[in-house]
């Protein structure tokens, strides 16, 4: 990519020797980039090699199902798709509520391959979309960092990003989620923004808004871009770095980008109406005011300008204040201040746990712990500060953007573990800059102190380069009075470009002259040792990343494995249950489960679900939560009113699978209780502690979730020892009156119950039936007499 540019650019100006070197360097960096792409792709294939080529987790199953629909029915049916197999009886408008970027991308790849008669299945394409796009993302990182600190830093950053564990965790083969393509789009948008900022080219500005459109298509995280770039623009204006290039980089993005964003059905008018986009418009106004002021300043003499300023400031301020007051009043009139729940929980980390338990219940919305930083970005955490320092030497528009990016993303990652993903590229870019600058300094000082090694040619080169720098410095001086502060960054970038032409390794010498460099050189031993240490650090990073890719992040979560004495043992219970549902129940049967398993049930079992992972209707989820936390009879009535035929629970007590429904149960209680106040969390807690053993409350021991999970569990080992909670359960012997067990998987991880049909009412025999029910209840009591807590 960069190779032909540099090599061709080098041809006309410089010595043949340098030309050759540049050409060689270009080709070399091209191949390095290619290898980085291959590395990024291959490191994500551990999941396919160790497990199988299968879609992972929960959300990817939904995306996979949507992609299947798209490839089968075509794009128009996809836009109009009303899905009646989920959120029964409400349904969901998929076409209007989904970010279509990922689906369309994979659908296009599939269509392209099939029109070339390469018969890959939709599943295969979906599995490998994420690794392919992570290769693209590392190339985009190269482009971004190259714009900031040159080719060396770019290559280092790309290498780091290719294997950063945080990103691997979201983009292993099979993890077919929005983030897989969105991170590429995010980095590429930023890199094009900086490219525009450095060149002032309208072409790149247009490209930038198109890539921004792709980002809007792909992920809700596009709001990060539309807030970060205005912040940077504002920063540039405030620090007196306004230039026409800044204007070109920003104004088309807002206008074109917003127009394009409004085309995406899920965004629509949100692109102008919600507060997430407010900052961009405010800055848009500000940049126009500033541009106008600079224009006026250019026309008028300094004295006239002062008069004009006082005039405008007095009138303009009043108008501005009025407008802003109106805006604020408008925004404040809406209950959430125009922000969506997720954004609000970002700005106020305690918001979700206070008001929206559904957002708080998702584990990836929790704040991260310190070890997770080390796990996810590893040594980059230490390199980032030095990278930030390197960004200040010298501070350009581009490097200030990087500093702003890392600062904001560190904050966001601290709020939500999921946003570690946004931090990862920033960390890679800054660490790439840090590493490359450090290598630059160290190798240069070694070079200067080993005169024997670098005698003839090296000295020559040094001389030529110093000559040219001097010459250019003169030039710069000549230019300075003309443009002053207006064009500061452009000179830098021009300089940089020339520098590239001159000699790839000489970029750090921008300001210093040859003599200065000699003074900056470190002692030979120190630099050699620190070089060694840096390499060690890099090696440690590589080892950690490979380990993380192979061991930590490759498990598809629908298949569990454990190593036993007899080798690998596979727990494939989820798919066992879904396959059973798919083949042995009626097509239109409704399956109720906690929302976590909604997407998988619709995709793998092809059955209608009540709630799923797209948690758009809190009441509906609360209904299911209430049913799960109610006693059997009440739960049966709720489920029956929803036309549910089967209830699916996930139970890990037999084999020790920790993320089962009993462990998630308190969230069901909380979410259910948030809408239906008769469900009270304290009823399920004994002295504030959640327990299922003999100390558990009667409400807990009688709720549906407990019963469905532990039905006949005692018969497995005679003691009913729960391996997850590490205790014997409280109530061991009980019968189900309104549900019957229809399927339990091999390791008991998924249990499916069927609602018994309502009993026939015998007219005129109410008395008898009454006596019957009383007798049954008494017999129930006698049957459960062994349990002292009833």
């Amino acid at each position: 990519m960069a190779a032909p540019e540099t090599s061709t650019a080098a041809v006309p100006t410089l010595h043949t020797n340098n030309t050759l070197r540049n050409a060689f360097g270009g080709v070399l960096s091209f191949f390095i980039l290619l290898l980085i792409g291959v590395l990024a792709f291959l490191i994500r294939l551990f999941s396919v090699i160790k497990y199988e080529s299968v879609i992972h987790e929960f959300d990817p199953y939904f995306n996979y199902r949507v992609t299947q629909f798209l490839t089968k029915k075509g794009i128009y049916d996809f836009w109009n798709w009303f899905d009646d197999r989920t959120w029964y009886p409400l349904g969901r408008v998929i076409g209007g509520t989904v970010y279509p970027g990922l689906t369309l991308t994979a659908g296009t790849i599939w269509w392209l391959l099939n029109s070339l008669n390469i018969p890959l299945s939709v599943e295969t394409v979906c599995v490998f979309t994420a690794p392919i796009f992570s290769a693209f993302a590392s190339w985009a990182t190269y482009l971004l960092t190259k714009e900031v600190k040159g080719v060396g830093a770019g290559l280092t950053a790309a290498t780091l990003l290719a294997m950063v564990p945080s990103y691997i965790s979201r983009s292993v083969a099979g993890s077919y989620d929005n983030e897989a393509v969105a991170i590429f789009a995010l980095i590429f948008t930023f890199s094009l923004y900086i490219k525009t900022l450095n060149t002032g080219s309208l072409f790149y500005a247009t490209l930038n808004s198109i890539v921004y459109f792709y980002m809007v298509c792909s992920w809700g995280g596009y709001t990060f871009i539309i807030n970060l770039i205005p912040m940077h623009v504002l920063l540039c204006i405030v620090t007196g770095r306004y230039s026409s290039r800044l204007y070109i980089a920003y104004a088309p993005l807002v206008v074109l980008g917003t127009l394009l964003a409004a085309l995406v059905p899920v965004v629509g008018f949100n692109a102008v109406m919600t507060s997430e986009h407010f900052a961009s418009f405010l800055v848009f106004i500000i940049i126009h005011v500033v541009a106008f002021v600079y224009y006026i300043k250019g026309i008028l003499s300094p004295k006239m300008f002062k008069v004009a300023v006082t005039l405008v400031v007095s009138v303009g301020l009043a108008v501005c204040c009025a407008v802003i007051a109106v805006l604020i009043a408008l925004v404040a009139s809406s209950p959430t201040k125009g922000w969506s729940g997720r954004s609000l929980s970002l700005l106020d980390p305690t918001y979700a746990s206070k008001y929206i338990p559904i957002i708080a219940s998702v584990s990836e919305h929790q704040p991260p712990t310190w070890p997770s930083y080390f796990m996810d970005i590893n040594v980059l955490a230490f390199l980032v500060p030095s990278g930030i320092i390197a960004c200040f030497l010298p501070l350009t528009d581009a490097s200030s953007f990087v500093v702003l990016y890392i600062a904001t993303s560190v904050y966001f990652s601290g709020v939500m573990v999921r946003l570690m993903l946004v931090l990862a590229p920033a960390a890679c870019i800054t660490s790439g800059i840090a590493l490359s600058e450090a290598f630059d300094v160290l190798t240069r000082s070694i070079k200067f102190q080993l005169p024997g090694v670098s005698s003839g040619a090296e000295v020559d080169e040094g001389e030529t380069s110093s000559d040219t720098t001097e010459a250019r410095n003169d030039e710069v001086k000549a230019e300075k009075p003309e443009e002053k502060s207006k064009d500061r960054p452009s000179k830098k970038s021009k300089k940089k470009e020339r520098e590239h032409v001159e000699k790839p390794s000489a970029k750090a010498k921008v300001k210093t002259k040859a003599e200065k460099k000699r003074l900056l050189a470190l002692p030979l031993e120190a630099s050699a040792v620190s070089l060694l240490l840096l390499i060690l650090l890099g090696a440690f990073y590589v080892v950690h990343c490979v380990w993380a890719a192979a061991e930590a992040y490759s498990a598809p979560s629908i298949v569990l494995t454990s190593h036993t004495r007899n080798g690998l043992h596979v727990f494939d219970d989820f798919r066992e249950a879904y396959a059973w549902l798919r083949h042995n129940t009626d097509v239109d049967d409704k399956v109720a489960s906690w929302w976590d398993y909604g997407y998988q049930t619709t995709a793998m079992a092809n059955r209608t679900v009540i709630v799923d992972n797209n948690t758009w209707n809190n009441t509906h989820i609360a209904t299911v939560g209430t049913a799960m936390s109610s006693p059997e009879k009440a739960a049966w009535e709720i489920f029956h009113s929803l036309d549910v035929k089967y209830v699916l629970v996930v139970f890990g007590g037999l084999i020790g699978y920790p993320s089962d429904d009993i462990n998630k149960f308190l969230w069901m209680v909380r979410i259910g209780g948030g809408v239906f106040p008769h469900i009270k969390e304290p009823d399920y807690l004994r002295d504030g502690q959640y327990r299922i053993d003999s100390q558990a409350t009667p409400t807990m021991l009688n709720c549906l979730m407990y019963k469905l999970s532990y039905y006949r569990f005692v018969e497995t080992d005679g003691k009913a020892y729960d391996r997850v909670r590490r205790t014997e359960i409280g109530k061991k012997y009980f019968k189900l009156t309104h549900f019957e067990e229809v399927f339990t998987t091999h390791h008991w991880m998924v249990r499916i119950y069927k609602l018994k049909p309502p009993k026939n009412r015998i007219r005129g025999k109410t008395k008898k039936s009454k006596s019957k029910t009383s007798s049954t209840s008494s017999s129930k009591r006698s049957g459960t007499k062994k349990n002292p807590w009833l």
Partner: protein, 467 residues
């Protein structure tokens, strides 16, 4: 216009009926069966009937056609009929296979259907010969009760006749029935009837006239699972680079008594001998030797419960469905494997190539309701023709696979109601020029070449207006 057509039709009809009458009347009066022994094996869900007939020509004209009769209810379930004739004297008896073809006879009593056995040498008057006939019925065991719980055992009905249905006079006949266990709930008695252990004996009955029929009903325990493949699509793809890729799509159902009520895993796991005895836990597929890259999956991914055992003569793949199949439960899955091409592809004498492969389903002891075999020939092959030992429906399709331009010819063969006996080899002949093997590599190479040329051209063309 109508009258002449009617006239000709009438003429044709009378002619035909006359002809049939001649055909029918001659054997039914001339031939007689001096001794018939029938052994019915009811141990699995495929009912095997071994019939030994001693046929005597009592007429004056030699005949080479012998008729077998079946009641219409059985014909629907009849999977195959084979007939062998014993040749030679007592010590050196050899068996020779005979042609058997379904035959339509007019005025057959009660819709009886016939199969004709064609003898190699006509049977002269006064001579006699011994025929060994084997025929198999599928779906002939009717579960009763039709729905059972998890802990109940599976009871089935078998209906047949105590007397062999035949257009000929039978002098002496005996029928033996073998049940899988000694547990027989009830059976129709027709003196003399004996029951000893797992075997029942009807007969011997003497001198029964043609078309004697005496229905019997046996109600017995059969706890073997009834694996029925409702539909099987086998795709055999030939690559002249040395591989034969086989992909088999199964829709499996347990054809026994339907499962009723709860399925309790704890009972199933703790008492496997009492619970779900008739459930289908695993299947065994016998694959050709030297099989490689075997996979077993369904639409939601790999199924981890399978074992492959290979030796030099055969490969055995033991597969477990994701869940044990109870009566009426279904499962779908795909088995795929690669085979070395030299074991299956040969050159015939007339310069054509032919594939020699087995037709039926590799799963043991399985009934296949509908089988589709697709042989995908390499791109550029011509004049395909298939040779199958039994009648199948055939047609041609075109399939586009990796980088195909004209598409690959696919020979499609369809057959219904198959049993393991149908696992016999078939051949597909075609002509193929080896130059076609190079088409796709050359295409790829030229595409890359063009790409590089284009890049070189792009780098050297300067289209800018300013100089």
């Amino acid at each position: 216009m109508e009258a002449p057509i009617r006239a000709t039709e009438f003429l044709r009809f009378t002619l035909l009926s006359l002809l049939f009458f001649v055909c029918r009347s001659s054997p039914s009066h001339d031939l007689l069966i001096s001794n018939a022994e029938r052994r019915i094996d009811l141990t699995s869900h495929i009912v095997k009937v071994y019939l030994t007939l001693k046929v005597e020509n009592a007429g004056s004209t030699p005949t080479s056609e012998i008729l077998l009769a079946f009641p219409p209810t059985q014909v629907d379930h009849l999977a195959t009929v084979e007939a062998l004739v014993t040749k030679g004297k007592r010590k050196k008896t050899t068996l020779a296979r005979l042609d058997v073809k379904p035959t339509e006879l007019p005025d057959a009593p009660n819709g009886t259907k016939y199969f004709t056995i064609y003898l190699a040498n006509p049977l002269n008057s006064g001579e006699s010969t011994t025929l060994e006939v084997l025929y198999l019925f599928t779906h002939s065991l009717e579960p009763f009760p039709a729905e059972i719980g998890q802990s109940e055992s599976q009871l089935v009905y078998y209906r047949d006749s105590a007397l062999i249905l035949s257009p000929y006079h039978i002098k002496q006949q005996t029928t033996f029935l073998k049940t899988p266990s000694t547990k027989v709930e009830s059976f129709t008695s027709m003196e003399p009837t004996n029951r000893a252990g797992t075997e029942m004996k009807y007969g011997p009955y003497e001198d029964r006239p043609p078309y004697s029929f005496s229905p019997i009903l046996i109600h017995f325990e059969n706890n073997s699972p009834f694996p029925v493949v409702e539909e099987l699509v086998r795709e055999v793809e030939i690559s002249h680079w040395g591989n034969l890729q086989v992909t088999e799509h199964y829709t499996l159902v347990h054809g026994g008594a339907r499962h009723k009520g709860v399925f309790s895993r704890v009972d199933y796991q703790s008492r496997p001998n009492l619970n779900g005895v008739s459930s289908l836990r695993y299947l065994l597929a016998r694959l050709p030797p030297r099989v490689h890259s075997v996979y077993y999956r369904d639409e939601i991914g790999n199924i981890s419960s399978s074992h492959l055992r290979t030796d030099s003569r055969k490969s055995e793949l033991e597969i477990e469905p994701r869940y044990p199949l109870f009566g009426g439960w279904k499962a779908t899955f795909v088995i795929g494997y690669g085979l070395p091409l030299q074991d299956f592809l040969f050159e015939s004498s007339d310069d054509r190539r032919y594939l020699n492969f087995t037709f039926g389903c590799p799963l043991l002891d399985t009934v296949v309701d509908k089988l589709t075999v697709k042989v995908v020939l390499p791109e550029g092959s011509k004049d395909p023709s298939a040779v199958v030992p039994f009648t199948v429906e055939q047609h041609l399709e075109t399939k586009y696979s990796y980088l195909d331009v004209v598409g690959r010819t696919v020979v499609v063969m369809e057959k219904k109601n198959l049993v393991p006996v149908h696992n016999s080899p078939f051949q597909v002949y075609y002509t193929f020029k080896p130059i076609f093997m190079l088409a796709e590599p050359l295409m790829l190479a030229s595409a890359f070449f063009l790409f590089f040329v284009a890049s070189v051209a792009y780098l050297h063309i300067d289209l800018s207006i300013r100089k």
